[in-house]
């Protein structure tokens, strides 16, 4: 859409300038080629920078690098980067603290979250287990069976 505007504007401007120049030539009868440089003013309308990505540096060793543990005022943070063909392809936070956790979700919609963010439960601390343990056979090998056995 922008291209359409640029092209139309350039064409319209060029047409208007050309018409003006032609009219001027007839008036003075001393047309000079020098005015050709002026028609350049409209050309800028269409110009666009097209960046060409140049990653000139030699391919850096690929691999995964862990940064130092940094103490921030929010707690300890460590970052791991993955390098492929000289470019960082992934950045992961390795060590995170739970201080100042303030982002909360107000609507009850289910939102994506990391495994580390789920309300945790340890097998030793729960009294019952929910799972799609539908059959008796599945029950026999389930954690619930182990819990039940402990309380028999």
């Amino acid at each position: 859409m922008r291209a359409r505007a640029a092209v139309s504007a350039a064409l319209a401007s060029a047409g208007i300038l050309l018409a003006g120049w032609q009219a001027g030539v007839r008036v003075e009868d001393t047309g000079s080629g020098a005015v050709g440089t002026l028609s350049g003013t409209d050309g800028t309308a269409g110009s666009r920078t097209t960046g060409s990505g140049t990653t000139g540096s030699a391919a850096k060793a690929a691999g995964t690098y862990a940064g130092a543990v940094v103490q921030t005022r929010f707690g300890a943070v460590q970052v791991q980067i993955t390098v492929k063909a000289g470019a960082i392809t992934d950045v992961t936070a390795l060590q995170l603290t739970d201080a100042e956790r303030k982002s909360i979700q107000i609507s009850n919609r289910a939102a994506p979250l990391l495994r580390a963010e789920v309300l945790k439960a340890q097998s030793s601390k729960v009294q019952t287990i929910s799972g799609a343990t539908v059959t008796s056979a599945a029950y026999l090998t389930s954690l619930q069976a182990a819990l039940d056995a402990a309380n028999l």
């Binding site: 009850n108 309300l119 340890q122 097998s123 009294q127 799609a132 008796s136 599945a138 029950y139």
Partner: protein, 271 residues
């Protein structure tokens, strides 16, 4: 905090195993020494066995089997059968068809509803017996009352199995105690060998196919077990649109595991 002393009785019914767990101590609202637990477990078992006799499709002589065979019409069925059928149809409307009382082949199958109904009835029976603290687990669907530590008000702690590794827990959820959520149900789309009590998987497969199911496992915590059970089933069947509809329309918490292992959760499941 050390683990509370608990006593458990288990029995098999409806093709799965039902566990009744109560605090081991004595006190008001508890079952006291073993005799009380035995009586409570017997009451629960009676409820399950009674419903199993009517609703199970694997008993050839059950009312459900006769309906499925067509040797009896729904009009002639018992008031209990018609009542549950009406419940199931109501849920189908509320879930926009994600939950259905019929298998894809058209056979009436109320098993998706009956286990939750049985748990609820069994819970009512326990309350009628004067038992105030208990945890009822039927094939991974849980309903609790009171507390594992009588008179402390502490909630029961329920764990949720990691569908990728059945020996670990992916998360937890307090039930009962001061909270309003007393029930937790989990449905899966990757359960094997569940041809009898697998109405949930039936409906999931019929819509998305076993490989295409968006959610591998969905856990729903709700104030009552039927809502939890039905919505967990419906979300597995209906995917994200049903998940959003469920969280918008009911007071529930959901922890859903996508096929890719990605987690979705409502705020209640956030640490």
């Amino acid at each position: 905090m050390n683990s509370p002393a608990l006593k458990t009785r288990t029995f098999g019914c409806m093709g799965t195993v039902i566990s009744l767990t109560v605090p081991a101590g004595t006190g008001p609202g508890t079952v006291g020494p073993d005799g009380g637990l035995a009586a409570a477990a017997a009451a629960v078992e009676r409820v399950f066995a009674g419903l199993d006799g009517t609703f199970s499709l694997y008993r050839r002589d059950s009312e459900a089997s006769r309906l499925a065979r067509g040797s009896m019409s729904l009009r002639a069925a018992s008031a209990q059968m018609r009542g549950r059928y009406a419940d199931a149809v109501g849920w189908r409307l509320l879930t926009d068809g994600a939950f259905s009382p019929e298998r894809p082949d058209g056979v009436l199958d109320l098993s998706g509803l009956i286990k939750g109904y049985a748990i609820e009835q069994a819970g009512d029976a326990l309350l009628a017996l004067g038992v105030g603290d208990w945890c009822l687990n039927a094939g991974g669907d849980v309903l609790v009352n009171g507390s594992p530590r009588p008179s402390t008000g502490a909630p029961w702690q329920a764990g949720i199995v990691d569908p990728q590794d059945r020996d670990t827990l992916i998360g937890g959820c307090p039930l009962g105690g001061p909270g309003t959520k007393r029930a937790l149900a989990t449905s899966g789309s990757a359960e094997r060998g569940d041809h009898i009590w697998g109405a949930r998987s039936w409906s999931a497969r019929s819509r998305t196919g076993p490989a295409g199911a968006e959610f591998r496992q969905v856990s729903v915590a709700a104030p009552d077990i039927i809502t939890a059970d039905v919505l967990a089933t419906a979300i597995v069947a209906g995917g994200t649109p049903m998940l959003d509809r469920a969280t918008d329309g009911w007071e529930i918490e959901v922890l859903a595991v996508r096929g890719s292992g990605e987690l979705l959760a409502t705020p209640g499941f956030r640490a």
